[in-house]
């Protein structure tokens, strides 16, 4: 289930600017995660977005953005100043009566942060992954093929395709939610390099209870509050749990749970056609939000059981010396007498503190 959300729609057609309006109250219930407004930040040359506040377990989600940037009154004051010859790029705060530039930081969503949007993903063609709504707006497959990001990450423009194509470009980014949690850690007393046949390896499975250090800041000293991140293209996290990692004690679980919230699309104006384009999103672009999640969430991590006998296990390594580490691993796993090792692997495979989100 997904749809475009936009209370008022500003679009630039070849003939001029069109402002289309529709009443939000007629368009269903105003839900959390709804894109309330997009605004162009002249100072930093990027688009900012305001979202309706959302909560996880009743706690407002932290989003990276600037507090109180360009609210309605600030904009009025800035407009009046610009008329009287003041600096156009400066934003004045009514409360402090001083120049207040946008300053981004982790802010609870109930304080209405303006989230800076850093677009990076080019939608290559509508047939592949652009929604139908973008096609109706004139996002053209042939035209977008003219823009390509090469292996070094730079944007290349195919001029012949650009001249032939007619339509609009589209860039996108994903917003996702991340909740820190403890992870399982396997520890071995020896490394694989020195593993010998018949050697006794002490192996233990423990629960890492520390939270990622980068999550601890002024906004959240515990580091456990959910945060809204943005990325070029969100992929579900892949657990690094191959058997080699596990037996060498290198195994570490993912330390957060993630959920994709929304995709933001930026569509260029028609005027880009034939012009030399630097590939950036500017104030003539139109922004759209496609939600994947519409409601507030509850979250709980799995409570896992690590039986006491797993705390300090001795495992006998089986295999051949010098036949490569893979043979050592395979030998020790396949050996039926190493039932303790099997028990460890089973526990680590089936048990994870991985949690779940559910809407309420």
């Amino acid at each position: 289930m997904s749809r475009f959300v936009q209370p008022a729609f500003l679009d630039i057609s070849p003939s001029g600017t069109a402002l289309s309006l529709f009443s939000r109250s007629n368009n269903g219930f105003p839900h959390p995660w709804e894109a309330l407004a997009f605004a162009w930040d002249k100072k930093l040359k990027l688009w900012r977005m305001k979202m309706r506040p959302a909560f996880v377990n009743g706690i407002p989600v932290l989003a990276e953005g600037s507090k109180g940037w360009l609210d309605f009154r600030d904009r009025q004051i800035a407009g009046n100043l610009a008329k009287s010859g003041g600096a156009k790029d400066e934003v004045f705060s009514e409360r402090s009566e001083s120049v207040k530039f946008p300053k981004d930081g982790w802010t609870p969503m109930n304080e209405d942060p303006w989230i800076p949007l850093r677009f990076g993903r080019e939608i290559p063609s509508i047939e592949e992954n652009a929604p139908l709504g973008l096609q109706q707006m004139g996002v053209n497959a042939e035209f977008t093929k003219a823009f390509r990001i090469d292996s070094s990450g730079k944007l290349r423009v195919d001029q012949t395709r650009l001249d032939e194509g007619s339509g609009r470009r589209c860039l996108a980014l994903d917003l996702f939610l991340s909740k820190a949690r403890p992870g399982l850690v396997g520890e071995a007393s020896t490394s694989l390099d020195t593993l010998l046949v018949g050697q006794v390896v002490d192996y233990s499975v423990s629960l890492q209870t520390t939270v990622i250090d980068s999550r601890k800041d002024e906004a959240d000293p515990t580091g456990l509050v959910s945060r809204l991140y943005q990325t070029v293209k969100w992929e579900p996290p892949v657990a690094r749990d191959n058997l080699l990692n596990r037996i060498t004690g290198d195994y570490a679980d993912q330390q957060d749970d993630q959920l994709k919230i929304a995709t933001i699309y930026a569509v260029s104006s028609f005027e880009k056609q034939g012009e030399k384009d630097e590939g950036g999103v500017d104030d003539t672009w139109t922004l759209l939000c496609k939600n994947d999640v519409f409601w507030n969430l509850n979250y709980d991590a799995n409570e896992i059981e690590i039986p006491k006998q797993f705390a300090n296990l001795s495992v006998i390594a089986l295999g051949t010396i010098g036949a490569g580490s893979g043979a050592v691993v395979a030998g020790s796993i396949l050996a039926p007498i190493n039932s303790q090792m099997d028990a460890i692997f089973n526990a680590m495979r089936t048990q994870s503190p991985r949690g779940r989100f559910w809407s309420i």
Partner: protein, 188 residues
């Protein structure tokens, strides 16, 4: 941005018209707006009303009266309300579930609604589950005159839960797999 001709186009629920060189935007009031479960409202007197909502098919109570304006036999009753404390922010409207030591809901008023901090004090045994329905953010007043938010600052209400709920209490297990006293409470 360059100067371009700008046109206004009306949309769903809005009509744009021009009379005497002035632009009028008419908004049509919505007739069928959906009101979610647990929809909280408050008035200037600091009374908080909680809309109809069900937990396991039962309407929770405030001071012994079921919310929603009807009693068990379907008779209309006075709608119960909560009093908003002015010195707590964030102040949660919370659903509280109480279970017996064997995990079954208590006989009298298993589900109640309260207002205050999200953390439930004095529940060492874990027989009480708390779920946030809505939250008030308000600036702390520095005097005891009047309750009006405009005098003292901003008061904002956010609806957290939008749907009827189910509740279960699950026995708590420690990391070694041993049963501990108390329960984990799940609302969904």
């Amino acid at each position: 941005m360059k100067n371009r001709p700008t046109s206004l186009i009306g949309g769903q629920g809005l009509r744009v018209s021009q009379i005497g060189g002035k632009t009028l935007i008419d908004s049509f009031a919505s007739s069928g707006r959906w009101e979610p479960a647990w929809f909280c409202r408050y008035d200037a007197g600091g009374r908080v009303y909680v809309g109809r909502g069900l937990v396991n098919g039962v309407a929770p109570t405030i001071n012994g009266k079921p919310i929603g304006g009807f009693d068990d036999e379907g008779n209309s009753i006075e709608e119960p309300f909560l009093s908003l404390p002015r010195n707590i922010s964030p102040c949660y409207v919370k659903l509280i579930a109480r279970v017996n030591p064997d995990g079954s809901p208590v006989e009298k008023d298993p589900y109640t609604i309260d207002i205050g901090e999200l953390v439930q004090r004095g529940d060492r045994e874990g027989f009480v589950g708390v779920h946030a329905l809505a939250v008030f953010y308000q600036s702390r007043p520095d005097n005891n005159r009047g309750i009006a938010a405009s005098e003292t600052g901003v008061r904002r209400l956010y609806q957290i839960t939008h749907f009827d709920l189910q509740h279960r209490a699950v026995p708590r297990v420690n990391i070694a797999g041993e049963l501990m006293s108390g329960y984990r409470h799940f609302f969904w």
